[in-house]
Amino acid sequence: MVSLRRLIIWSIIGTGISSVTTQLLTIREFLTQFHGNEITISLVLFSWLLLTGLGSLAAKTIKRPSLKIYTLLTLIIALWPLLQMIVIRGFREALFIHGSSPSFYTIFFYIVITVSPYCLLTGFILPYAQKVLNYNHQHFESGDLYITDNIGDILGGALFSFVLVYWFKPFPIIALTSAALILVALLLLLRSRSYILLLTTLVLISFFYSYALDRTFERHSLSTQYGDVIRYIESPYGRIVVTREGPQHTFWESGTPFYSDANIVNSEEKIHYPLCQLDRVENVLLVSGGLGETLAEISKYDPAHVDYVELDPYLTDVALELAVIRNAPFLEIKNIDGRRHMKMTERRYDAIIIDLPDPDTFQINRFFTREFFALAKKILKRDGVVSMGVEYSQNYLSEIRKKTLSTLYNTARLYFRNVIFLPGQEAYLICSDGELSLDIPARLRSKSIKTSYIEGFFYGNVTEDRIRKLKEGIDTNEAINTDFEPRLINIAFQEWFIKHGTSPRYFIVILLVLTIIYMVFLRRKEYVLFSTGLTTMGVEMLIIFAFQVIYGYIYLQIGAIVTAFLLGLLPGAMVGNTWRRRGASKLMLSEGLLLSLLVLFYVWVAYFRSELHPLFFLGFCFVFSFLCGFQFPVVASIIGEQSSPAAGCLAADLCGASVGTLVTGTILIPLWGIRYAVIFLILVKISSIIVTLFSGNKAV
């Protein structure tokens, strides 16, 4: 019979594997449920960490732990992720109006209610495991708990990011990563000779696996939201769903339809407004939007070569398969990030057409920035054109839209002599150093190009009045948009709140009040962990954002970043556990090092911003989290094992982490940019250094 100590240690590792995988799957699930901007990532991580922290705090109240309850909780943790995923997918339709996009508060509420059972349980079970061991006279310190949990976290993170994500869909991933925990639970039940319970458990497990491994069931779980799903792909870059509505195909990414067949107005406007400006069209770069009639419209100019850049190969593959992209001799599909292609290509283009949604994520914002226009200018031929469309109401230019259009206009004007907006179904920005014409039908007539929409509708929709009013709405004093100070994202977030008639103000105030109340009860040394948790998650968010800015995608890399952070925690905690004597000076040293790393990051963001290899970022994550991991056993040792520091320290670490995630991800970066976010984190770390200096070696 396996010893109790060993079984519980395995269960802690199993919990780590399951919880990290579930966390990553949940983030990805919410990214696809709520259009996947950075606010969503922050809200999920915030709720996750906070609820886990609360779970840990709840464990403080337990004085006489029971092995049977522990076993049951272990089993629930193993099986719950599948239920959670089904609930996230299914509840959406029950809670929100079908087809609608929810507001900030409803998203937050939805995240909290769907993840809270699992997070509270996983937060609760770790300190409870330690209590079970100690109650059964198996000595197990807080540092040991932290290290063991980290081993599970790392295993889970690595398994998910480097293996499972490439091969499996979410439900089978859950089935696989829960296996260890299920096995331990069964062994614990066997050990306690609870045979009836064992039998019930076996029935439950068989249900769990029959559903988790059933492909049809997984696809069916999406159909309430999407309709008739004919393709469902979990690509490394996001979830692609293709639905069929009669003979029509609709392509969805991140839960939003981005293409439905026969959108003639969009195809004609985005292609002809820029291309008709040119005397001759030889080379065209199309960034996204190559589905449907787009290429047919481009072909009317008889181009020699069209590079159609689409990041996700699965998307173009399925579109080719369904004949939504029609192959043409001039067409070359490139599955690469658009910005990267622009940097690497040696081709010179007559036109660059950007067909992306409005910039409300860092990834998309990169095609609307100063850096983008500079790059575009380099690869354009003389008098070539760049164009892009942004949402716009034809009948009234609101203040917030005015800001968007003005920012975009001013940014483009830095590099192009002529910049115009055409008020079509979207506001189309056309930039060139050559002359630009507003009379599109006349240009098309001169080229003998026939259209369905522009010929008949242009003069009624794009009137001189409307063009003039749009032009008058441009404020040349608006700021410009850059990769690292994403002004347009800031505006998009403001608009999101305006659209839903809400404000983040109440949320910020409540968060602030709760943080202050919590800090009143915090021990000084726990504040160090709180601040380190805060800065660590803040840095994690910054790296996620920086990654998006530089490489343009995050869906896959988010796993690698989280794993790199987890990977650092373990050796850090082990070193901390070994060197915990004379803790105060070592704590001070680690504080200084954390501060230095933040300053280093600031210097890079403020002065260099060079494109570093991803390993630099992952290495940075590792070192940062190493120091974070180091501090935990040191602080626990300073407080003293007799004061049961595990729950308090875990809670401080997790609460700090949740605040860091939220403040950095939803407030600082979108509102003030990456630079100011780093400054905030530096100030937090300085505050904890001051607290450390003044508290010396005292426990409280």
């Binding site: 109240t61 609608s100 996009s101 029509q248 009234y396 242009f458 009624g460």
Partner: protein, 397 residues
């Protein structure tokens, strides 16, 4: 230990808490029968949101009841009951000192000149231009509103120009535009401004067109009809629960509006935006057509518009063209004589066919007329009178 929770107590509390959550959940409707849950997004009154005094662009409301303190607006079926300081659902009416004021009078935020076909009106002086105005405000809360930046705002929250009724008429005349449209947001929310302008316009020889959701009470509508020449009114669906959950209104008052306009002799066309999974059920369209035929007759044109994701309704696909074609087929088969498709450039459903000989009466390419086979309001081929308001052939000018 005193103050400490025992395991038993903890489990008890946990169990109770979970049960409470489930009860609350059931109460909220999480676990109930989905069909029983009609989500109602109808707007609410804005308590204590009115300004202290009227502004330059205010006028005392035309139709309201008052007990000296509380007022009730009688313009639309919302019938907002406002205490002093309150603002109506449509955001345009306020109670100041026991009187109802409209805050949307002479302050349009949107002024454009459009082709009449854009409203859409296909049987009303084709290719003529129309001077179009709107102030902020709407008595609905449509999740797919394409003008939400003005319809879901208070008059004080948007930029506007000053254009009192006589100025509107003068502007239209200056530019030689024969009609005025009250459009974009919801004209019923600026009823007083619309009414006074329409009265002056009629006196000045201009035509008046209402583009609306039709959510208006009978009496103010009858008064308005005296000056209306044409209208395009949305029949957003034929299901009260869809009206409640997608638009924040109710169906019956809209149906009453059609009946009143029909009785008052106002030319109108009906528009239905075909929202996938909501307004695309053939059975519902059949019922709708049956009602139209029974109450209004076969002559008023019906426009089915293609939906594209907008505003808050962004998680739906565009309407399949096949669905639009199917619904058009149903409506024609049921007996509606003129059924058009909108937002589908180049489609045959944008042309006007004679209901008798089925030849093309008006050939359209967008807003351009390519064929005009009407003479004195009759089909040039078979002589059948074609319902609508027709002027001289647009091809002759």
């Amino acid at each position: 230990m005193p103050g400490m929770m025992t395991r038993k107590e903890f489990l008890k509390s946990f169990g109770l808490g979970t049960s409470a959550l489930f009860c609350a959940g059931t109460g909220y409707g999480f676990f109930g029968n989905k069909k029983d849950r009609v989500r109602d997004i109808r707007g609410h009154i804005f308590k204590n949101d009115a300004p202290k005094r009227p502004w330059k662009w205010s006028i005392e409301g035309f139709h309201y009841a008052s007990d000296g303190t509380t007022v009730q607006c009688q313009i639309c079926p919302n019938r907002c009951l406002l205490e002093p300081g309150d603002r109506s659902v449509c955001r345009s009416k306020v109670n100041i000192g026991g009187k109802l004021y409209s805050m949307a009078y002479g302050n349009p935020c949107s002024v454009h000149v459009d082709p009449i076909e854009k409203k859409p009106l296909n049987h009303f002086y084709p290719t003529s231009l129309i001077f179009s105005i709107a102030t902020a405000g709407c008595n609905f809360r449509c999740l797919n509103c394409q003008n939400w930046e003005i319809s879901q705002k208070k008059p004080g929250e948007v930029r506007h120009i000053q254009l009192f009724p006589k100025d509107v008429v003068e502007k239209a005349k200056e530019r030689n535009i024969p009609s005025i449209a009250y459009t974009y947001s919801e004209p019923i929310s600026f009823y007083e401004y619309m009414y006074d302008t329409a009265k002056l316009a009629r006196a000045g020889g201009l035509k008046n067109v209402l583009v609306s959701n039709g959510y208006i009470n009978r009496y103010p509508l009858i008064r308005l009809c005296r000056y209306l020449d044409g209208a395009n009114v949305n029949l957003k669906s034929f299901d009260d629960s869809i009206y409640r959950s997608l638009n924040g209104g109710t169906l019956q008052p809209v149906l009453d509006t059609f009946k009143t306009m029909h009785r008052e002799g106002v030319w109108f066309e009906m528009t239905t935006l075909v929202v996938p999974t909501y307004v695309d059920k053939p059975e519902m369209i059949k019922r709708m057509c049956a009602w139209i035929l029974k109450e209004l007759g076969p002559n008023y044109p019906l426009h089915f518009l293609r939906f594209f994701p907008r505003y808050k309704l962004t998680r739906l696909p565009a309407t399949p063209i096949a669905t639009l074609e199917e619904l058009r087929g149903i409506a024609l088969k049921e007996g509606i004589r003129y059924v058009y498709l909108g937002n589908v450039p180049g489609h045959e459903g944008t042309q006007t066919y004679c209901h008798n000989c089925h030849k093309i009466l008006i050939g359209r390419k967008g807003y351009l007329i390519t064929k005009f086979n009407l003479r004195d309001g009759r089909c040039k081929f078979c002589g059948t009178p074609i319902p609508g308001r027709w002027g001289a052939s647009p091809l002759s000018s």
